[in-house]
Each structure stands twice: as structure tokens, then as C-alpha cells.
Amino acid sequence: MTSVADAVVPGQRLGHVQEFNAGVGTYSHQNFLYASVVGVKQITTISSDELPVLSVQRENTQSAMPDIDAIVTCKVVRVNPRFAAVNIMVVDGKPCTDDFQGIIRVQDVRATEKDKVKIYNSFRPGDIVRAQVISLGDARSYYLSTAANELGVIFGTSVAGGSLVPISWQEMQCTKTKAIEPRKCAKPM
């Protein structure tokens, strides 16, 4: 498919800015395009009136880190009336080496009727939550949101220790005891 000959390393000059647009894994410096990661050079032509995009397909993906708008999977570690604190474990389908910290503030739990949200009716410690990064947050945590249908709790364990299945967008049921517990559920895709 790709030959080693197309492999480039950071700093390798790939072309002139008049010939190509800079894509991922590249940067421009004094009218030239250079590779910024190890990978395979790729040229994609979008349309005839635009310059082709020169990019480098990463060979070793960098350890995942949260970025604005990224979809993350995280575990709830503690809750209080103002926010749920989470450990971000997966970013855009890629596991992080070390967990990053995030919080879902009460106003970011859902899109509508924000003033009626109670954190403890939305998340419990141990829940696995799918969320979106909305800002880099403060020194400690990224700020996350679950205010969309496909975002929210995707896996949880009931008080009795059984696994929970969603029965509506704000309720989940224990498979063992059939007890219903409130959650902000993610809509299965």
C-alpha cells in the first residue's frame, strides 16, 4: 500500500507553499512545508481550483489528549451539587495513557430546563459517561458537556451491583432487581 520510501520524519521538507496547502502533521516555515510527525506523506486533491493538501499520516499516534469539541469517554469519580468530577479515559476513541481530569457543571448536563437539573439525579460515581469537551477549563480540569442526545451515561452499576440499561433518556433500570435509577442517559447510536 504505502512504501517506506514515502515515510517522513519531523523536519523533513515536503514542498513549497505555492504548490500545496498544509494539512495535518505538517507546518509551514519560510515558504516551505515541513513534516512535524513521523509518518507517510499523502497528497489529497479536493478540487481543481484549490491547491492539493499535503499531509502526513501519523505512524505513531500521539497519546490522546482532550481538545475542544472532542468526544470523550470518562468515569465519574465524585459528585456535588455544582458539578460531577470525572476522569477522562478515552478521547475520540483513543485511550489516554494517564487520565485527564474533567468536570461536568450542573448547567452543562443537558440542553433544556437547565435550572431543574440535579447532579445526583444525573450521574453517580462509577458511571461511564460520554461527553464533549467545551473548553480547556481551569488549571485542573477540562470542562465537559452532556447537553446532547447522544451524550450522557452509557454504562452504570446499580446500587444492588447489577448493570443498568437505559429505559428513557433520564432513567435506567437494574438488570438484577429491575429497580429504576435516575440518570442523564446517552441515546444508543
Partner: protein, 291 residues
């Protein structure tokens, strides 16, 4: 890679890639494989990882060895220095093993003082060397009551992927067997050795090791009472206990330890000893090949 089990769902509604699933539910991930009799790295529950031993890799040390056990790489270097003997043991030297688990080898270790794990492994090796009388410390005497050799046996873990215990002890024994110390002369409180380029039996001596104990470790998974030979770091993190069997070349036991997890039957321990016997023979074969 073993053939991946197809159903990686944590609940019927959501599916994930294998790596994501492993991160979120390491135990479930492992079980999916174990239920098919294999481990995520493709091994059988009872098989060990490929192992290599290289001798004399460090020329600044008086004896050294590098051991690779799967993804775990350790380097052991022995330095012989001169020290005053203890007053109550004036003709005995020192043999001081220490294992360093520094942050280079895994993100599980932080910079600073040795972690509990590093301390425990160091102590385990220290005890085996001492209790199963590997080396007569009188051999390290230079001048009774005045000067003895102190052998600093330091193990550096370069890459950590579980089972540091076996890798470290193997490297220690290999490095000790590789040691060559220049013959010393003692004169008026000063220990001198001759500066020569090539060490031979004329100008140096080797350690007379009474035996070569090697350890074989298993991880215990409580929930399913599964026994895993030579666990890697992902397996260690989901296991509750471990069994370590240490044997010398005659098949005599030097140490048996079972820590953590629920009670295990005598049958299980016998099984471990049996497997350990075979594995330690194999390790010895690898060690002898390279020498």
C-alpha cells in the same frame, strides 16, 4: 495478537474498539479472552514470554547482565567496592541487592524515593540470596577485621511490563555469575588492585556461587480463580494476588510465597511448583546458552 473476541460491548447498546474497551473495563476485556482459553497477548494461561539473557553488557561494572522477559527489560550491574566489615562479622563482606523502578520504565512509577513495590522486590531478592546461602560472604574478605568487598548489586528496570520479580532475580544471578574481581592486595590500610587490560584467572577471581535460585511467578485472579504464568503489567493490575516459587538447579525450593487473593488449595500450589520446575529449567537453559 490472538483473534479478538467479536462482542466487545459493555452494554447491548454501545460497542467500542478493543483498546477503548480494555481501558474502560480491563477485567471484562481480559475475561472475554480467558473464556476462550487465551490471554490478550495471545499466550495460553500457563505459558511464559520469550526470555533472553545477555552477559557482560556493562563494562564499567564488575559483572553485569541484561534480561528481557517479554516487554520487561532489566539491566543488573555489580560493582565491587572496599568497605570495613561489620564488627561482629569481621571476615564477611556485603552483598547488597537493590531494584530501581524509575519513571522511565512505566507511567505507574513516579520520580523520588523507591515505591513499595521496588522495596518489596529488593527485599525478596535480598532474602533469597541470604536465606538460601547463595554466596559465602567470607569469600569477600580481603583482610579480616580491616577490609572486605562490598558487592553492590543494582538492578535498573528499563522497561516494565510485569513480573519484575523473575526478571530481576534472573538478572541478579546472571550478573553475579558474570562477576570478575581483580585480586586485591592489602597494605597498611589500603586495598590495591593491579591495573590490567584483560582479566584472567591469574589476576582476578570469580564468585563461587553455591547455587542459582531462580523465581517463577504467577498472578492470581480472585473472581474466576485463574492462574496466570508470567503476568504482564495489564494482567498484574487486574489480579489480586501472586504466587512466587523459587528453585535452585537441583530442584530444591528456595522460597515459596503466596500473597493476596482468596485461599488457594494445596493442589494449586503443587501445580505451581510443578510448572515452576519446568520453567526454571528452561530459564537455566537460556542462561547457559548465552554464557
Amino acid at each position: 495478537m490472538a483473534s479478538e473476541p467479536t462482542n466487545l460491548a459493555i452494554s447491548p447498546a454501545f460497542t467500542f474498539s478493543a483498546s477503548t474497551f480494555q481501558k474502560l473495563h480491563p477485567l471484562e476485556y481480559f475475561r472475554k479472552f480467558a473464556s476462550q482459553g487465551v490471554r490478550p497477548d495471545g499466550r495460553l494461561l500457563s505459558s511464559f514470554r520469550p526470555t533472553t539473557v545477555h552477559y557482560g553488557v556493562i563494562t564499567t561494572a564488575d559483572g553485569s547482565a541484561m534480561v528481557r522477559m517479554g516487554g520487561t527489560t532489566v539491566v543488573c550491574g555489580v560493582k565491587a567496592e572496599v568497605a570495613e566489615p561489620r564488627l561482629h562479622a569481621p571476615d564477611q563482606g556485603y552483598l547488597v541487592p537493590n531494584v530501581e523502578l524509575s519513571p522511565i520504565c512505566s507511567s505507574a512509577f513516579r520520580p523520588g524515593a523507591p515505591s513499595e513495590q521496588a522495596q518489596v522486590v529488593s527485599e525478596q531478592i535480598h532474602r533469597v540470596l541470604q536465606e538460601s546461602k547463595v554466596l559465602d560472604l567470607k569469600e569477600l574478605c580481603i583482610e579480616e577485621g580491616k577490609a572486605v568487598w562490598s558487592l553492590w548489586v543494582d538492578v535498573v528496570c528499563v522497561s516494565y511490563d510485569g513480573n519484575i520479580c523473575d526478571a530481576a532475580l534472573t538478572s541478579v544471578m546472571a550478573a553475579l555469575s558474570n562477576v570478575r574481581i581483580r585480586k586485591p592486595t592489602y597494605e597498611e590500610g589500603v586495598v590495591k588492585v593491579a591495573g590490567v587490560d584483560l582479566l584472567d584467572d591469574e589476576n582476578s577471581f570469580r564468585l563461587n556461587l553455591a547455587r542459582t535460585p531462580l523465581s517463577v511467578s504467577f498472578a492470581l485472579l480472585d473472581t474466576d480463580l485463574i492462574l496466570l504464568a508470567d503476568p504482564n503489567s495489564a494482567e498484574e493490575s487486574i489480579s489480586q494476588g501472586q504466587i512466587v516459587i523459587t528453585l535452585d538447579e537441583t530442584g530444591q525450593l528456595c522460597a515459596v510465597s503466596k500473597v493476596g487473593a482468596a485461599s488457594s488449595s494445596q493442589q494449586l500450589l503443587k501445580q505451581c511448583i510443578e510448572r515452576a520446575r519446568e520453567r526454571s529449567q528452561e530459564l537455566r537453559r537460556i542462561m547457559n546458552q548465552e554464557q
